[in-house]
Symmetry: D2
């Protein structure tokens, strides 16, 4: 929770600035126009159309919500039956860092083991087949949905093949697949990524395209490509306190992000900056705690390195290793300036 | 749900524009500064300080949330015990127009009769004393909080004396008083109003100062003046999906609204415009369905008047009377331009 | 909350004794048999078969739960979608006397006016058509189910024609019809009653046959005749804490009640006793507050009568009238002895 | 889910019979007495007094509920604040086998690793200290209560020293300690057990004394010894659908179980039978999957043994081991007859 005071470089998170200047420009230009509320405005309609096209999902229903926890709680509640739970990695955001928002809606989060933030097909298969083979399963919570985030909490990526495997598993067990894309721009821009928006449109029952961490003031675009309906989702959104009166504020933001490749550019800026930092770390022999291809870098520091670097760079504390090193997270974003990367590298 | 198409005047709601230009200006100026998230930034801190001062509540805890339904659900859940319900007018927003958001949190809305949107002290007294005198009350939902909005759904106002009476009732029955100020700027600016922010700070357990309908892009400032604590409210906010990652976006807005009297000015613009329209209606003999001192005008039209006016002015449908007239709502706002009022009056 | 002390006659409620002796006899006879749990025992299966036959609903699914509030909360949660609420009379049990159990499950109770505990078709029509005609209905709770009890809280009865009218309304609005039969035996035995179990099987989406107040130690038999499925209801029952480990204890009770006309006989005993008391009251010119054909008698007493009768008879306080009289409820049951009725009449 | 058909011995569960004959006798004797409902009867009062004495907790509040899942959901909801969760072993009943009943009440179950069904002090310490040391803890669910069962799901026991250690941990972290005693009689009767009812009264914020599996038709006695209050618990019970109208039916059962040492005797019968079976298994060299001192025996069988034994004895399937053996649960109870144990041993 550090503030910019002019003395430190800031790499603590990817939500420390405002919005891409193009977004603010559009907000200013359209400010005194009068439109209908609750997403029934032309900007939201335009954003919807562009998102449908980007996902190659012409039938998709698109809704613009405000934040990630809210979106997860609302979509999961809309896709699950009351007797079902959501399956997530034990490190998944809904399992650990959402203050019980899913449970407030009455649903259990069923956790499975993970490696580098990812669930394997085997772990998922075990969770589902274990439930369905158990003769006492009617006393248990039915796994009704697979939740994963792309990239994961650890900045790693599911490959297209892995995602197709999870889709096949969902089909076998009649479960929904829901992908949390809070940082989706940074997945899309990673060189090792092979999962496109169109793939998500083809494979998911629902996913969201993150705005808050990818260049917007706030906002997450929920896409239901058409496999499953979320009936009366507008009302469910309202019931969850997630309906914006001035829906156009989100509409204008996503309309801008999906114009002239801004969303892709936002992702690229962050990943290129992260790649430069990773290269510099490797060069200096400072180990990474985890190899990640996206905008989050998990660097493993000894106490001396930690002290010196922390003096000059705001990073996010991640964990202490058994070997007595400290893992810090360095996050880049759509807003990371090249000069700041230069300066960070100089500090290493 | 009408759009501006250049052919019609727009008086359908008070959330049809963006934000006060001063707010956008500040967002642009601060855009690339780096700050901590979740409300731990200097703009939010400054907004909190200014709101505490405006409410003359130096000990108040202030939180900035996104929208009205969300704020009501979160605050009510935070103030009530699990076995308690919220008492509201049968026309209250939480009783009718929040899609069951309060019930999603497990609480019943206990309704009492209303007149022009307001609950009388007698009706409230009856609800509370009825519960406490009932020997089967432990089978019932305990009234634990009085919810009212200032102004009400019908644009009417509670007087200071009425509010003090309700506070006394809450004290007698150990209940919380919570005031929904979605349109509070328009109450504060009404000439007949005698309830100040300081009065709310003195009388309420919690209230919120509406931003969304009073000049902000979005945002509601919740104030707990100090009578009751809402422990771990930050977590409760997160659990309700109401926590903004970039808290400063709300902080900058409220900081601006509470600088140089902008919030008061926003209210005044709307009320002065509404007063001019009301005067013109009276002059032309077009009856009001309800006498209101704030920014909402409820005009009663015959079919001919309705047809002619609707052709040129976007209004909000309210209800059909038994006498065959139609009540339409004309809403002014912080953004209503004098020329538009002139044009509307010319249409009458 | 009065105890039997040998000095007073007891007419305070219809759940003040244990169970019909035939039930206890069967419990004793079968006590040490070993059976599977959770309702997978032969007694529960037999009870199900008999109930299906009595309701002429060969396809019905039947579940045995423990108590009324629990049954209402579980069935309503199973039949409603998350964005829907239950419509009930403003005096309905779920609206007033269930401590918020329906809201705990996330559903709003939408109330309509009543007369003598009954909702008119007009009041229901107004609630449903009002919702569906409202252009802002997606901001509101959708009425998804009509809840009524037979007999009502006031001991009155819906006629077959009234029930058919409500069924037609439910069909028009795609809503479920759910009948709470906590005291159903006393409705079935009333001479003015024309609604049979087969009619309930034909008209309802779900109803329950009350055991607790009609001769059992506890237990309510939920019947889903087949119009709507309640998928995974077993799990929903468990989730609501309503699953009996030793399901057979409920099974044996309903098997016994539905053997040799015991349920009908239980009802008849209560209604005949009540009819004798009503006749004696009329004879003595003591007014009834309400004409009821079932096992509950609402007698209106002046202070003198109240004092004298209360000394000798335990009754249930109902309300104080504006005219200064007191309405007391006298309840008979399956267990009411003829001699006690004689003695009560002698006291009048 | 096997039925008794006269051809098989029955050791599948401890809830396959009715109730201890003394209980049925008392139900028959008192059957036509008239008492107040909802637990305000003299039998419930007497049961409460005897339980207070047995627990040496003269100030305890005692409530009689119906079943285990219901009791867990209700007590946990009563003891937790909305932002808190319950910590349980990953094999704990509330974590796996209650169909999401805790989550329906809005609370997360936070799991910790276990050994033989038990949580170590270290695992608990790690869960609590991990939360309190995490600077992002306000985004997470606060651990507010430790849930454990005595005996555990695996029939093992916490020692007094272990329980005192957990109490000390709860004190350090201001958490409640709640013990699920569904099979408490079988813990109390185990020779290795050193935790008495008085110890539970001294150490717990709440615990329940199981009736359903320990000789009653149904019923669980919740004890709040006095460390923490559960305000308006009567209403919370009603809200959870857990309130018995004829409360005395539970009262008579617990009054009987706590008269003349019946509860202890019920436990002893089961444990002695189990001990004889365990001795016979050891003698024959049939391995136990787990050493347990209570009424549940987990026997590890090869395919041939499984086939032969299953032909003659109803057991409960537990799991398949990686080595290709099958673990079956043999459960004894208060009702297990000596001859049946003889016959089972003869089958081995």
């Amino acid at each position: 929770m550090q503030q910019a005071d002019g003395t430190k470089l800031f790499f603590a998170s990817d939500y420390q600035e405002g919005a891409h200047p193009a977004i603010l420009r559009r907000l200013v230009e359209t400010n005194l126009e009068k439109t209908a509320g609750y997403g029934f405005d032309p900007y939201t309609e335009s954003a919807r159309a562009k998102i449908r096209e980007a996902c190659q999902s012409p039938e998709a229903e698109v809704f613009l919500l405000v934040g990630g926890t809210q979106t997860n709680a609302t979509v999961i509640d809309a896709l699950l039956c009351p007797w079902q739970g959501a399956v997530a990695a034990e490190t998944g955001h809904i399992a650990v860092h959402e203050a019980g928002a899913i449970e407030l809606g009455g649903h259990k989060v069923l956790t499975v083991p993970q490696t580098e933030g990812k669930m394997t097909a085997e772990a998922l298969e075990k969770a589902f087949s274990g439930y369905w083979a158990d003769e006492n399963r009617e006393h248990m919570v039915m796994p009704g949905l697979v939740y994963l985030s792309q990239p994961t909490e650890y900045g790693t990526l599911y490959s297209l093949k892995e995602l197709e495997g999870i889709r096949a598993l969902c089909d076998r067990y009649d479960a929904a697949l829901y992908v949390d894309g809070a940082r989706l721009a940074y997945a899309l821009a990673a060189s090792e990524n092979d999962v496109t928006l169109a793939d998500l449109g083809r494979l998911c029952d629902a996913f969201y395209i993150g705005g808050t961490k990818c260049g917007a003031l706030f906002g997450e675009a929920v896409v239901f490509p058409g496999r499953r309906k979320a009936p009366h989702f507008f009302t469910v959104v309202k019931q969850h306190g997630a309906l914006l009166a001035k829906g156009r504020i989100a509409g204008i933001q996503f309309d801008t992000l999906f114009t002239d490749g801004l969303y892709e550019a936002a992702g690229r800026n962050a990943v290129e900056a992260a790649n430069r930092i990773r290269a510099a770390l490797r060069e200096r022999g400072i180990p990474l705690a985890l190899e990640t291809p996206t905008n989050q870098i998990f660097v493993s520091l000894d106490d001396d390195q930690l002290r010196r670097l922390s003096d000059r760079v705001a990073m996010d504390y991640w964990e202490r290793t058994p070997e007595g090193r400290t893992v810090m997270r360095i996050a880049t974003s759509w807003a990371t300036a090249e000069e700041d990367v230069d300066r960070l590298i100089a500090c290493l």
